[in-house]
Symmetry: C2
């Protein structure tokens, strides 16, 4: 099956907004790092290759949404506010994109669940599957396996990760970031 070879717009319309994509990727990236060491915006932005200042604002929204924790100053940065298997994509996307509230496929003002339009029923099953996907898939599901660990083991049975900083040992701070300060 091969859709019409029309001219079509340059940038295909994305399912998730750019900001939502940034948010999910950022949370995944944070989750893939040691939980006891916060990640700075600069590092996240560099890793994702997205604009730093814009990402900063986006991360802040995730903090307000309770997805991330943040701290300022030296040793500041971002950490997960909850374990990765508790963070669904819907939860991460919520501040930017209300996935649950997608309405009539054709934008008909008169289309309701009472009087659905002709496209409604046909689209609904797919639409429902999408909601389920975003509601059930968690950040843990999308994390790359870190270091040693049976490659496909579910994230569940991992040790509690030392209570997310707040008290852990200083841990060296071995010269990450070779950026020369001017």
């Amino acid at each position: 099956m091969q859709f019409a070879g029309s001219p079509s717009p340059d940038t295909p319309r994305m399912f998730l907004s750019g900001t939502t994509q940034y948010a999910i990727r950022a949370v995944i990236h944070v989750a893939e790092h040691a939980a006891d060491e916060p990640l700075r915006v600069d590092d996240i932005a560099a890793a994702l290759d997205v604009p730093r200042n814009y990402l900063s604002k986006t991360l802040h929204q995730l903090v307000r949404a309770g997805v991330l924790k943040s701290g300022r100053g030296p040793r500041g940065g971002f950490q997960l506010a909850e374990p990765p298997d508790a963070l669904t994509l819907a939860r991460v996307a919520a501040p930017f994109d209300d996935l649950a509230n997608r309405q009539c496929l054709l934008g008909r003002a008169t289309c309701t669940s009472r009087r659905p339009c002709s496209a409604h029923g046909r689209w609904e099953s797919i639409s429902t599957q999408m909601l389920t996907f975003f509601g059930h898939t968690t950040i843990a599901d999308l994390m790359a396996e870190i270091a040693e660990r049976p490659s496909t083991a579910p994230v569940h049975d991992r040790p509690p990760a030392a209570s997310l900083r707040t008290s852990g040992p200083p841990r060296g701070r071995t010269a990450r970031r070779a950026r020369a300060a001017p």
Copy 2:
């Protein structure tokens, strides 16, 4: 399951662009009318409750795409260029929204079919179903039954719809369009 009660944006992001929605609805509306009488922009815009001039431009793009035919002057207007069961949603949407070319869910530049990102496989099956939906659903599938019809019958167990008009009896043509010209 109940997504986070976040503030969330005012206008939920639509799956199809507004213009694509206009286009599909317009084509359905044209298809629901007698094939031998062109429909004017004013009538279509009024029926869909969308801005007239903008719709005009959109309809013209459908003409260039071979979905509609148009004529100017008195007795001008728009008609289908092909029978409704030959017009898939993908075909109608193509000039505005390249559905087939949706890329990585998370917008990752490095995500390819060779090296898919962690979200890729999980999303793919849903994504594929959407493509199939738009590639298989036709305008004929979405047309309201014209004239007499059992009011709430589910769409399934309906008789095959008599090869979808194209040759049925003229079916009345009772005084449409009562606009008094000034």
